[in-house]
């Protein structure tokens, strides 16, 4: 099992690495870059979800990351690679502003606090004109080169964001199967019981928040360099970077390792395809179809795509059906276990 999942993982990574070899279509590569940005942000969002914590405010960390790299680069001439690292620090520091709500508020109330937090930052970005240029936004200079993360074609961007996404996934897997992951998953199930066992959950949740925010900040910074233009409505956008990652995660399987990856890979091209197909006279229809698709997925696979697929797989493999046991958790990716976890996450 362990070996099998390793082979699968390597195969998928190799396939992802070969995408630009098979196509040089810049639009397809653009969609792939967006998919990987969403994989990164959703995986980061999901680190909180390991602990059963729902954030609807990751646009805050995304935007902080975008603005950090842009302001440092454009106004202070700081190299954007360093800017990405700085973005992780500022996003992490920014997330500390959510420490009090994180430790005081439960479930939906914390989610609402995060939503308000991201909206406040969007408004600050609009009004802090000397720093952010307000609604006009910041445009990064066209000077190209690897050192400046600026290229004329999409391929280099693709490889950079692929590497970043793989690092984020690696961190997520490492957390899930480490002491921190066990404690977060237990806390998601029963916070009071886990404290009675000696786990300091405030510290644990804060650590998850800071790591999640820092990773999101890195992808926000990359997106700033990739899209050239950084403005409050885009980079602090609640629908784009707060709701979408949460949707990806919930659709794929909240609190599982593979769920957010699958969710982002499925939902990003779907949204993109619907948007381009139903433009013009049928504009708006894309949202209707997207909404219906969401309802269907949630109805058919309440634990997310990953757990839904597992159930389907079991149905057609009757020999696995009789033992309802969860597998040994020693492997790097054990989807069956994530199935159980996602089911627990709903309670």
């Amino acid at each position: 099992m362990k070996k099998k999942s390793l082979i699968w993982t390597l195969g998928l990574v190799a396939a992802a690495g070969l995408v630009p070899v098979f196509t040089s279509d810049q639009y397809i590569l653009h969609v792939c870059v967006m998919i990987l940005i969403y994989v990164g942000v959703t995986v980061a969002w999901n680190i909180l979800a390991f602990g059963g914590i729902l954030s609807l405010g990751h646009a805050a960390f995304f935007g902080i990351g975008s603005y950090t790299v842009a302001i440092l680069y454009v106004k202070m001439d700081v190299n954007p690679w360093l800017g990405i690292l700085a973005a992780m620090v500022t996003a992490a520091l920014g997330s500390l502003l959510l420490a009090v709500p994180l430790l005081r508020l439960r479930g939906p109330f914390f989610a609402l606090a995060t939503l308000a937090f991201a909206e406040s930052l969007r408004l600050i970005a609009i009004y802090a004109v000397p720093l952010t240029n307000g609604s006009v936004g910041i445009t990064t200079p066209p000077t190209q080169g690897f050192a400046l993360i600026s290229f004329s074609s999409r391929e280099p961007y693709y490889y950079i964001v692929l590497a970043m996404a793989l690092i984020a996934i690696g961190i997520s897997i490492w957390i899930y199967y480490s002491k921190m992951g066990y404690h977060l998953r237990a806390s998601a199930s029963d916070d009071e019981a886990v404290r009675a066992l000696g786990v300091r959950t405030p510290r644990l949740k804060l650590a998850a928040l800071v790591i999640s925010a820092a990773l999101t900040g890195a992808f926000g910074a990359f997106a700033a360099m990739y899209l050239f233009v950084i403005d409050p409505e885009t980079n602090f956008s609640t629908p784009l970077y707060s709701i979408q990652p949460a949707l990806n995660g919930i659709i794929g399987g909240m609190g599982t390792v593979a769920g957010p990856i699958v969710g982002a890979i499925v939902m990003t091209p779907l949204g993109e395809w619907l948007r381009t197909t139903f433009s013009g006279t049928t504009q708006g229809l894309n949202f209707v179809i997207y909404g219906v698709a969401l309802i269907i997925i949630v109805r058919v696979m309440p634990g997310g795509i990953v757990s839904g697929m597992k159930k389907l797989y079991r149905r057609f493999r009757p020999e696995n059906r009789s033992d309802g046991t969860a597998p040994d958790a020693s492997g790097p990716i054990q989807p069956e276990q994530e199935l159980a976890n996602s089911e627990g996450g709903r309670s």
Binding site: Y177, K179, Y182, R185, A186, G198, V199, G324, P327
Partner: protein, 241 residues
């Protein structure tokens, strides 16, 4: 407090709104002692437990454990000092296997997941539930879940174990299986405070018994004396009108 004293609760009280759940209760537990706590429903047994484990803080009185005052300490810190507890309504971590449930407390002081897994298996083996290790914790019978709960509490490496009705809901055969285990844990030097409705079972393992009635101590003494006390019989069986 002497060296042999592990827990010293002095005059604790707790009020929830209009209900005086615990009023002026004191209890001292010696190293390696088993004390049974009995009382009717709503007598304040679990509330008293919560004051010791830190789920609630007392309005008055103090709690000292292993020589230090812990009256205002949070539950996690108390657990780290050596107070393990089970919950009356068992609370397995759903979405995790039985082994993983037991690994959670083991990972508090040791970051090695591999070592925690081995130690969890040992504990499950001691409780004769090693065969359940890979099962999801939510898919167990009540008796099995109670054992997982005890294994999890033991995994914190407690000096004092608070058992909240671990025998409730078990059949007589299962009760007979569990009692020797409780004694075995005590023989390793763990003090035990157990809430139980099953008086005969508590009598069998307890060194002392304390009866709570409407938040106050009704009787406190040797098991044989306690169960024959007319006040206890009245409180337990109800006074005849």
């Amino acid at each position: 407090m002497t060296n042999a004293t592990i827990l010293k609760v002095e005059g604790v009280s707790k009020r929830f709104g209009g209900v005086q759940a615990v009023s002026d209760v004191s209890l001292t537990l010696q190293h390696g002692e088993i004390v049974g706590l009995i009382g009717a429903n709503g007598a304040g047994k679990t509330s008293f437990f919560n004051l010791i484990s830190g789920m609630h803080y007392p309005d008055a009185g103090s709690v000292a454990f292993a020589g230090g005052d812990i009256t205002r300490l949070d539950p996690a810190s108390r657990a780290r000092r050596g107070i393990g507890r089970t919950f009356q309504v068992v609370r397995p971590f759903t979405g995790m296997t039985v082994a993983e449930n037991v690994m959670v407390p083991l990972l508090v002081n040791d970051s090695s997941v591999r070592r925690a897994r081995l130690r969890a298996m040992e504990l499950l083996d001691e409780l004769s539930i090693a065969d359940l290790a890979k099962k999801p914790a939510e898919g167990l019978t009540l008796a099995q879940r109670k054992r997982v709960e005890v294994a999890r509490a033991l995994a914190t490496g407690p000096k004092l174990l608070l058992l909240d009705e671990v025998l409730a809901g078990l059949n007589s055969r299962e009760v007979i299986d569990v009692l020797p285990f409780i004694k075995k844990v005590r023989d390793r030097g763990v003090s035990i405070l157990m809430i139980e409705h099953l008086v005969s079972a508590v009598m069998e393992v307890s060194d002392r018994m304390m009866v709570l009635d409407r938040g106050s101590v009704l009787v406190h003494g040797l098991p044989a004396d306690v169960v024959s006390d007319p006040r206890v019989i009245a409180a337990y069986l109800g006074e005849e009108d």
